[in-house]
Point group: C2
């Protein structure tokens, strides 16, 4: 079905470079082309060249705006009038709320009653209506589906939607351009539901076919690694990790099909390595990385992935974190000195 010439997520062409390029066009002048940062200290530490794609400087503070906004530009006028619903207490909720505000669309975001006050305030601050549910007794997808059915809203899914994946893939298109004539040996990307990883892998494999793309998960939330080993999607117990953007209990259906095919490897990092990478960003790079964003940098700095003699790009996916949580992590005794 085509609306206004736009491709819906029900077609069968899947996730392609063309679809990512189309998302890029719809984001032009709206989303930021985020910078690539470098650090002589980091290069010396890993004995290679590291390019840091700084998505904390994206609108809304994370890459999630790319998928949310580019997906929502595909809504037809009637759908825009009726509005959208999303389920997320974190960056996707904030991104949908921000995109909705920019487009003048009503938005409902389904959030856990137990969510962080700061994050819920940020979503509400963009003007979205918060709808709370009890995570002990309700499933957020079902709550959102009921609201969507009752009020005839369009659900904006967090990752398992080809147009969301294509929007996140614009990170990879930009990175391929920013890598310069020497290209890249490898790209490290965090894996939660798999939207960012599938989008970046699709873009990179199309534009830089010799570049390895490696997914990184917290060891405590390794649903994609386990699914990859099993050869099918497995569900893990609710993960406990500081990387609150990577709490998926199983990969998405569409995303897993892409990451299974395109990721060269999926590796894991410890909680302490994640915190240490956040402290490095603070003390050395002077940027705020949320735990999920520090996950691939942790893999590189802890040696889980070697950067020696290589050109490595690391996707720092966002910088949204509760001030008290950030304060506790950077001032921990193990903190690197400034």
């Amino acid at each position: 079905v085509l609306h206004n010439g736009a491709v819906t997520d029900h077609d069968d062409q899947g996730l392609t470079l063309a679809r990512i390029r189309s998302a890029e066009e719809r984001l032009a002048g709206i989303a930021h082309r985020t910078p690539v940062l470098t650090s002589a200290t980091l290069d010396a530490e890993v004995d290679g060249t590291v390019l840091l794609k700084a998505e904390m400087f994206q609108r809304g503070g994370s890459f999630k705006f790319r998928g949310a906004y580019s997906r929502m530009t595909l809504l037809d006028l009637a759908e825009r009038d009726r509005g959208v619903v999303a389920y997320s207490s974190g960056n996707h909720g904030g991104a949908v709320a921000l995109a909705a505000r920019l487009m003048g669309i009503p938005a409902v975001v389904v959030v856990p009653a137990t969510g962080s006050a700061a994050k819920l305030a940020a979503i509400a601050g963009y003007g979205a209506q918060l709808h709370t549910y009890d995570p002990a007794t309700e499933r957020r997808e079902e709550v959102a589906a009921a609201i969507a059915a009752e009020r005839n809203l369009t659900i904006i899914r967090p990752f398992d939607d080809y147009d969301i994946m294509a929007g996140q893939g614009t990170v990879g298109v930009e990175l391929a351009g920013q890598a310069g004539p020497d290209g890249l040996d490898q790209v490290l990307v965090p894996v939660g539901g798999g939207g960012l990883a599938s989008g970046v892998a699709t873009a990179i494999k199309a534009l830089l076919p010799d570049t390895a793309v490696i997914g990184v998960e917290p060891a405590a939330a390794d649903d994609t690694r386990q699914s990859r080993l099993a050869g099918h999607r497995v569900t893990i117990p609710p993960p406990v990790t500081i990387a609150d953007g990577l709490l998926a209990e199983q990969p998405g259906e569409l995303t897993f099909a892409v990451t299974s095919r395109l990721l060269d490897d999926v590796v894991t990092v410890s909680e302490e390595a994640i915190a240490d990478a956040m402290r490095f960003c603070f003390a050395r790079l002077k940027i705020v990385a949320e735990p999920s964003a520090a996950v691939p940098l942790a893999a590189l700095r802890s040696g889980v992935v070697s950067g020696s003699g290589r050109r490595t790009a690391v996707v720092l996916s966002g910088g949204n974190i509760d001030p008290a949580t950030f304060a506790a992590i950077v001032s921990a005794p193990q903190a690197a000195t400034a």
Copy 2:
């Protein structure tokens, strides 16, 4: 006196655009051309356009590297062999230590025995020799002068040296270029000893003569404002402010002559406005600003300087701060939400 064709700081040509351009040439390929950041949130808040010159991304984490390195390239071979001495527990000490390491020059940094362990460790980490003094009974300038005389070292002064001022002025030259065809209505710069302010004012007034340059001090460390009002340099009691890079008790002799002539105004901000600007940098911009760097942003955000309908550049001078201090400030109850 000319060494190797370089201009010393004993000539009478003072601080000129040519001198700043010369410093810029000596820094090329060594210092970073730091980015200018923008924020839709900040623009909306001040009802204008704000360009943030992000010197926390400079080598060593602050603008001080520009002055230190460019000054030290003027040393002749014999002076380089003998080495340098600086007095500072903060960014100037770190910058001299880093420049010395890059140039293969021995460096002594005179630091208070009471200094922050993290900052002293950072200076020592660059390979400089630390020489402690007791701030209750000794003056750091005299301690450094005695070491310089005894060991025949060159003193690298923190601000009152035309070549240090010229090095810091490269911030202004870059900013003028980054401002684009619309130019700038005003530039806000922090004032401590006055090295950065005099350099930036000299560059901006030469390149963008219609642009106002406004110095900003903590209200608790307003030696330059008081000196300006008195028409001569006055000494204030030892200031107490979180802006530990702006603790000067009186302006420099050379710097005050320049800032008196070129700054359009000198204004002050409260401690709470400084902390608030730091929290804004953390929560909204996702960058680490040290208190001194947040001072001019505080002037703009608190309305001490109006940005309404104007194009304002703000120099964020650095991002070096003890993790515990940063944690306490960003997690204070007044913190802005992410």
